[in-house]
Amino acid sequence: MSIKIENLSFIYNPKGAFKKEALKNITLTINKGEFFGIIGHTGSGKSTLIQHFNALIMPQSGTLEVAGIKVVEGSKELKSLRAKCGMVFQYPEYQLFGETVEEDIAFGLINFIGKKTEKNPSGLTDQEIKERVKEAMELVGLSYNEFAMRSPFQLSGGQKRRVAIAGIIVTKPEILILDEPSSGLDPKGKQEILQLIRNLKETTSDTIIMISHDMDEIAENCSRVAVIAKGEIVMCMSPEELFTHEEALVGLSLDIPIVAKVRNALALKGIDVPYNRDYKVFAKTVAEKIAGGAK
């Protein structure tokens, strides 16, 4: 398995006046090969949870194991954990800093794996670093010859985001975590980023964990979804099953995909149509059922 969490709790400012319980007794296993979705209202604890996954926050109580590495204070394996479990933050394009695209992408690689020296024989040579950067750029759909020497700040929003993602996957993480990867992009940009993530699942990172507010996006991509509310996992199941619980989700200020809304409304009328995230297939089944009933 990829991530194993047991009884994880976290409190911000545990001794201060602004004490806030962000996570309560989370127990969750994410398996290798999953495309796992996390949804929840702003402030529900989603970000606190995923920041534990690559040891940006250390567990206060409970245990956590990621890619076979126990996340504990003082562990010498944390750098290697961060190379194995890549994290793409929300609006990652705001975190670009390199003078060139190549420099920006190589940063994490040099930092987590290191250059080859006498002290670090397992490090990478300059040539190897260049090859890895080139490979990462090609995976995110940016031509090395065209973009490597350009300033990341001159690129479009969608291109910047690709550079930022390349800077994470350059370490070939087994697990890739993305916090609202399509947020703020136009419809075409959204589609491209999601396609990119699906491609990465096939090539570099076969476990994907994605936070999103877009329920269609969750329905379309995820095999399992956890719903977080007030620091607790309140539901964890397939999207098909999850979106039948409309009332519970609306109660948590969450949306459901339009197809699920229609399905649930029809079910109340005694018309049972199986959920299908493909609008076309779903519409055809609905039309047939209703026309069939009328006959």
């Binding site: 702003t42 947020s183 703020g184 136009d186 419809p187 075409k188 339009i258 229609v262 409304a265 609008y279």
Partner: protein
């Protein structure tokens, strides 16, 4: 009354200290009239020129050729530029970049102080503006502790405090979650009911469907201009310029293809109403 008028406007970043790579004009021969009190969604994919058009409306950018008039005054008239910016307020995308003070009240006071209003009037304006966005109880709060939707409401209040006639929102809902987006929509809808012209830039067509008029830009030119019904009837063209139909309209078009005719549908609420009315 005409609020904003574009007359054959051409704008290019190349000679205005913009990037060297962008030599093609960002706005090409654009003519457009916006009447006072309209409720408009301005749409287009990334790079279509929509943010440039927004910045031309209150003289943050000025045309290379052609003319932009705000309430009859040219944005190139330097003597009138403060009046124009007072009349045409603008809200940007990132709520975190628009806060300047450590207390909500001070943040709202910035605009009224700038136009030299007396102290007593500033107090009234703050209460009016916070009331309009339903944030009065946060008067003494720190903006940094608010949610994204609340911060955007504070940003709107900051602009409202100078009592503009037009409010331009440049993708101001793009970084918000669905709840925050609804909060902003409710606020601008009620401002429009009281007579304010609203222009929201967005690429969420589900959101655009809720406006009276949709203006679509493509490659710096006017591609479509009409009611949501008129614009969404041109599905193929929309797809070609990288925009999608609202989800409900899309699903409804598949129903129709398969012989289930529910009539016109522009929003999720409309579709659900029609589904519930089925025999």
């Amino acid at each position: 009354m005409t609020a904003i008028e574009f007359k054959n406007v051409v704008f290019s970043y190349s000679e205005d200290g913009g990037t060297e790579n962008n030599i093609e004009p960002a706005v090409k021969e654009l003519s457009l009239t916006i009447e006072q009190g309209e409720f408009i969604a301005l749409c287009g994919h990334n790079g279509s020129g929509k943010s440039t058009v927004a910045r031309l409306m209150n003289g943050l950018l000025t045309p290379k050729s052609g003319e932009v008039l705000a309430f009859g005054e040219s944005t190139q008239n330097k003597k009138k530029i403060y009046d124009i910016r007072k009349d045409v307020g603008m809200i940007f995308q990132n709520p975190d970049n628009q806060m300047i003070a450590t207390i909500v009240e001070d943040d709202i006071a910035f605009g009224p102080e700038n136009i030299g209003l007396p102290r007593e009037e500033i107090g009234k304006r703050i209460d009016f503006a916070l009331g309009a966005v339903d944030m009065l109880e946060f008067k003494q709060a720190s903006p940094y502790k608010l949610s994204g939707g609340q911060k955007q409401r504070i940003a709107i209040a900051g602009v409202l405090a100078v009592k503009p006639k037009v409010l331009v929102l440049d993708e101001s809902t793009a970084m918000l979650d669905p709840k925050g987006r609804r909060e902003i929509f409710d606020v601008i809808k009620s401002l429009n009911k009281e007579g304010m012209t609203i222009i929201l830039i967005t690429h969420y067509m589900d959101e655009a469907a809720l406006f009276d008029r949709i203006i679509v830009l493509d490659n710096g030119k006017l591609a479509m201009d009409g009611t949501p019904k008129e614009v969404f009837a041109r599905q193929t063209e929309l797809a070609e310029i990288g925009l999608k139909l609202p989800r409900a309209t899309k699903l409804n078009s598949y129903f129709k293809e398969n012989g289930l005719d529910l009539g016109e549908v522009l929003s999720t609420d409309e579709l659900m109403e029609k589904i519930c009315q089925l025999k």
